[in-house]
Amino acid sequence: MIKMIIKKTAELFFKTNDIYILETFDNTIIINNNHQGLLILNDSLDIQKEVHIQQIAPIYFVYKKYDNSALMLYLPDAHQTILIDLKTCNHDIITLPEVFHEEILSSNYYWNNDTFILTTTNDAFYEINFISKILYALSYEKVQRNYPSFYDFWNICKHYNIVTIYPEKESFIFQKDDHHMGFFNGKNDQECEIKEYFNDWHDIEYKNNLFCFIDEHELKIIHDNNTFSLYPQNNFIFLKAKFLGDNNLAILSSNPANCQESLLEVYKT
């Protein structure tokens, strides 16, 4: 049995930043900057860029372009999405059609080249027109005809209880019941299951056969039969964790007595 070694490589404490968004791609970390946009950091936790946005509502979800050149923030309470060009840090606000006063965008999407297809929790398709900055409905037939791979993946998703989804990799973590979870890889149509795990988690991440279970008071990384636990710093609780690059893990913690106090850490696995 190979013992897992996890080592902290960076840490950044925020005294006055209520961080609740954590996204990663390659070796880049994205977090919210209170309610005024985003901060972009590298894996050493150096701030690389700031994206200033006068948000009128909190961010519910972040969509990442598959080539990591752009993001879209979803602000359902404001019926808005915000498109951000990560190269220029420019952003465009898109007001959602009235139907989105009822409809909710789901976390499954397709964003490749100039095509950005969003799905809703009621199984509808929308496409963003980047010129007019308008969302318009797409028929199933058109999606099936023009984006068959995504359409098939979307159909497969409907048959699973998905916990975490990675649309760009056409893969997801699913839960069968309280004792069976797994990872589905749509690219090769393979599933790997994990049977022994603990139940007190609120979020799960997966990468390269590593499952990361996040609970406020404990973070567990499971690789085959090896389990490694991390505990939050004093007075802090774990909120989120995301795999970063090939071997790193970014973890977001917060002080429950003061939501403005946030802690960002990077561990090498």
């Binding site: 209520d18 609740y20 309610h35 909190p58 359902p76 429950p256």
Partner: protein, 582 residues
């Protein structure tokens, strides 16, 4: 001119009451047995015991013969020296099985029944009404004679051994109606079993009766006596109803089952506790039951069943509310707003079933016509807009009541059928007016609450169900499948649980008007709300079943996690480390 019309006219001219005579002078009732000079033979039975007198005809004193056996009838007539013709000329006595047994011993029985059947078919509603008032026509007589007539055909066919048993067109229509109703009950069986247990029980009994009834070649009509307990008698008397209608039922197995149901209903209504929100509807419920029995006596079984369905649904709804209160599901006017799911499932589902049953009774049985379109959903916060649909229904009921009263007064209506409808309309009028008055009182006594909050209370749900009935009728959505869909939709697992994601504020109780947005800086991307000096926000990290709200007091101390759908605190979840900073 038809013989009945002639006799009716003649009797009016001579101011001589009609008498149940058969043959050429059928139904002519003379005033023999009184002090008047009479052309009637002195050995008339009525001259001795008075039962053939219009005021004391067999129809009015039916209970005297309830315990007579065929031999008793034989002795009775022998004592009075009546001839075969005179005995068979007492139509109302055919309501008694034992009399029929006795009458069948006479050779002219077949002929008498055939002629009675033919004559009764020709009677118009005015004549029936007149004879009814005179006491020579009684409830269900035509149906009974029709049955006896059919029995003759069956006997004949059986003797011929050529053809199978036949059923009349009326019986066929009845069975067709009942079969449709059975299909509806089957479709809604799951819904009723889950949310309307009393209704479900009686439907099982009705289904048994229906099966027994249809398993035989012919419908078996019997006259059955029922004992009323003192409480039921007192209840009927209290609201001015005659107990006699409940003591006897002539009909098939299903008719008898429905009659027994009416007594069971009265028992339940009588035991409504004064704390029940249905207590004020007691009189309306009794009226409904009386109307139900009247329709049953008139062989309008489907209508009787629809009214019974409404009564049981109301009682089940009352029970769900009482149980909800006992479980602590709600204790105050706003609690149902806060508890839309869990312990109040039966109440929410009950409201849908109630709207369904009420729509059937209002528009199919009572046949009221609401012409004004009600847009209940656009009422916003204006109370008079909310009450508009209910007022329209009340107006329609009153108009219909006046029409019926006028029709009866002018003699253009068949009293018997209209009487049942009149009773039903009376009950519906009381029912709707009680709902309206209670809502007015609520508004007067609870000025702090708005109409939407009232509509989330048990009584408000009853108000809404009644007002919505018009919309249901007009949209054509009052079908078994729509009801099932509605209940499923109102009780289905919230999407954020199904989809295992973090809910939005609008998917939680925070969307309710009682929760006010604060200017406190959002916590981890969640807006902070205030209600009753407590502060709530969504947890933005727990998904699906684990989703919850965080609740703090006005000092910012964490009180615990709360159900996102109900706002109810989850025990033992307070975390002393969590704090809300103002």
């Amino acid at each position: 001119m038809h013989i009945f019309q002639f006799i009716l006219l003649f009797s009016h001219v001579l101011t001589v009451p009609l008498h149940a005579q058969y043959g050429n002078t059928f139904y002519v009732k003379e005033s023999w047995g009184t002090n008047n000079t009479s052309s009637r033979p002195t050995k008339s039975p009525s001259s001795q015991d008075g039962w053939n007198n219009p005021r004391n005809s067999p129809c009015h004193t039916s209970r005297n013969f309830n315990n007579f056996r065929a031999t008793d009838f034989q002795r009775h007539f022998q004592d009075r020296g009546l001839t075969e013709k005179e005995i068979l000329q007492q139509p109302c006595l055919y309501m008694f099985d034992e009399f029929v047994k006795f009458a069948q011993t006479y050779s002219s029985y077949t002929c008498t029944i055939q002629q009675l059947h033919a004559e009764l078919k020709k009677l118009n509603i005015i004549q029936k009404a007149y004879y009814f008032v005179q006491g020579t026509y009684c409830w269900g007589l035509q149906k009974r004679i029709h049955y006896l007539y059919n029995q003759l055909s069956t006997l004949k066919n059986n003797n011929d051994v050529v053809t199978g048993p036949t059923i009349s067109m009326e019986t066929y229509q009845l069975l067709k109606q009942l079969s449709a109703q059975q299909a509806e009950y089957k479709a809604l069986d799951g819904v009723y079993r889950a949310y309307a247990p009393s209704l479900s029980n009686v439907l099982a009994q009705r289904t048994d009766a229906y099966r027994t009834m249809t398993s035989n070649d012919t419908l078996q009509y019997v006259s059955k006596s029922y004992n009323l307990n003192n409480n039921v008698k007192h209840l009927l008397t209290k609201y001015g109803h005659d107990t006699a209608r409940f003591t006897q039922c002539y009909g098939n197995q299903l008719d008898q089952a429905i009659h027994q149901e009416s007594l069971d209903l009265l028992d339940r209504i009588d035991t409504l506790p004064s704390s029940s929100f249905l207590y004020d509807q007691q009189e309306a419920l009794v009226d409904f039951t009386v109307a139900m029995v009247d329709y049953n006596h008139e062989n309008l079984t489907d209508k009787a069943m629809n009214i019974a369905d409404l009564c049981w649904t109301l009682l089940d709804y009352g029970q769900a509310i009482a149980e909800g209160a006992a479980l602590g599901a709600y204790t105050a006017v706003t609690d149902l707003v806060n508890n839309p799911i869990e312990a109040t499932i039966n109440i929410v589902a009950g409201k849908q079933i109630l709207a369904y049953q009420l729509t059937k009774v209002l528009y199919n049985v009572a046949d009221i016509s609401v012409t004004a379109l009600s847009n209940f959903d656009k009422a916003k916060d204006k109370w008079n807009k909310y009450t508009e649909p209910l007022n329209n229904i009340i107006d329609a009921i009153s108009k219909k009541e006046i029409t019926i009263r006028d029709a009866i007064k002018s003699g253009t209506a068949f009293v018997v059928g209209y009487k049942a409808q009149g009773k039903l309309l009376g009950g519906l009028g009381k029912f709707c007016n009680t709902i309206k008055n209670k809502s007015i009182n609520f508004v007067k006594n609870n000025t702090a609450f708005n109409p939407k909050e009232y509509l989330a209370t048990p009584e408000g749900l009853l108000f809404k169900a009644t007002a919505d009935s018009n919309k249901l009728k007009q949209s054509g959505q009052n079908t078994a499948s729509s009801l099932t869909n509605k209940i499923e939709n109102s009780l289905k697992t919230p999407e954020f649980i199904q989809q295992n994601r973090i809910p939005l504020d609008r998917e939680t109780i925070l969307h309710n008007e009682l929760f006010k947005k604060t200017k406190i800086t959002p916590v981890k991307g969640a807006q902070v709300y205030n209600k009753d000096n407590l502060f709530y926000h969504r947890d933005t990290f727990h998904k699906g079943k684990g989703a919850h709200l965080e609740v703090y007091n006005k000092q910012g101390i964490h009180l615990g996690e709360a159900n996102p759908l109900t706002g109810q605190l989850i025990p033992n979840t307070a975390d002393k480390n969590k704090k809300l900073n103002f």
